[in-house]
Amino acid sequence: MVTKTLKKKRVLKQGMLENVMRQFNHAADSIDLNPNIRKILEMTNNELVVHFPVRMDNGEVEVFTGYRVQHNNALGPYKGGLRYHATVDIDAARALAMWMTWKTSLAGLPYGGAKGGIQLNPKKYSHSELERITRRFTYALGDNIGPELDIPAPDVNTNAQTMAWILDTYMSTKPPAERSMNMHVVTGKPIGAGGSEGRDRATGYGVFLTIKFWAEQKKVDLRNRKFIVQGFGNVGYWTSHFLEKEGAILTAVQDASGTILNEKGISVDSLLAYSDANNRSIYGFAGAKSLDSSEFFGLDCDIIVPAALGNQITADNAKKIKAYLIAEGANGPTDVEAEEILLKKGIDIIPDILCNSGGVIGSYFEWLQNRNGEIWQLDEVMAKLEKKLKESFFKVMETAKIRNVDMRSAAFIIAIERLEEAYVQRGIFP
């Protein structure tokens, strides 16, 4: 009985890591990656596990376990989120850290990849307990993070407030004269505490831009094109907002509460207002009718934006898809079997690693502003984001054409080749 339980747990635990490794191996094989560099990239550089005590509101002391995995820093300081969740463990952190390395490399940023967090169920703790947990975790991490070493960002159950606590604690451990030199130890801060304009919309704007670049490349006019969005959170909303501004028509939305459809168009801002007033639920919106969730991906439309969960487009629903473009706002929304079916049908997929990279590029801009003592206006941030994303997008299109591969393979090839180049040029110490 015990053996069975352990076996099952191992399979589940390795799922995410296996998926990341499979994508890496596929790209590494196709570029015939130097075997020594493959050895390096298969492993994480550093894995830190910290156990730290925190006094609870009732006076008792509880000991927490925190993680920080630093996968690779060949291109620059480690970068990646910190999450507070019961599922945080070393395997999850490894997989997500590796994922960050490919993402920052593809985006052409001077960053490596990292991920971490604390294993806890945050609903069990008060606001002030979470503040003490965050501050003590930051202290436990000590100089293993730093503005030029490893730069955390928000993730599941962490937000701008969490980043402000980390910043404040980290700065407090430095001599007075050095404190203000450390503003860029975290990104995703509140604007008043060194955050950047536009960080809220960066991911969604990035998704929109990749769709726009794709349309330009294919000579498709986005005006009056129908699009559907899964997930009406930050990414789903901002993507819809910018697509609507470009003249495209939002015809269906799916979120946790249900699916709505109006073939004549759904007003994005009216839906947001309804959702805000209705506990973040789109169900019951007067400007559309409700629909069975299983029909969503088969709806008649031109563009699908999955911006919620992973593994949503599967072999079952891929056959029914009528759109000619899928823009992956979420991480891993298309599974392997579905991707094969879609590519055979001639449907283009803008891969997640490219499509939703606007967020990390926005983080980079925040880091740069703090580092250089600058404050950029919103239009400046958006213009720079467009320039940066355009470079990545057309590099992916070019590589896909030259190597005759799909966009996802091209994106991984670019990411890994950039790392390979860094290692070849720098060599291995000593």
Partner: protein
Amino acid sequence: MKNYKRSVCSTCSYVSFCSLTTDKSNISSCSEYLHRLDEEYPQITKVPIEILRSSDGENNKNLVLI
């Protein structure tokens, strides 16, 4: 928590009626993820009555019908 040990769904406010996926066992990120602490006031989840009828009702003690 017991059912979705490897998933962020385990602490999501929408878990009892989420229509995004039937497989909530291994979800590592979700733009719809909403934690109780994100809200200023205690969570009052509004769900359509059709969904309540189709669910087993186990998690619906705190739900408000609309």
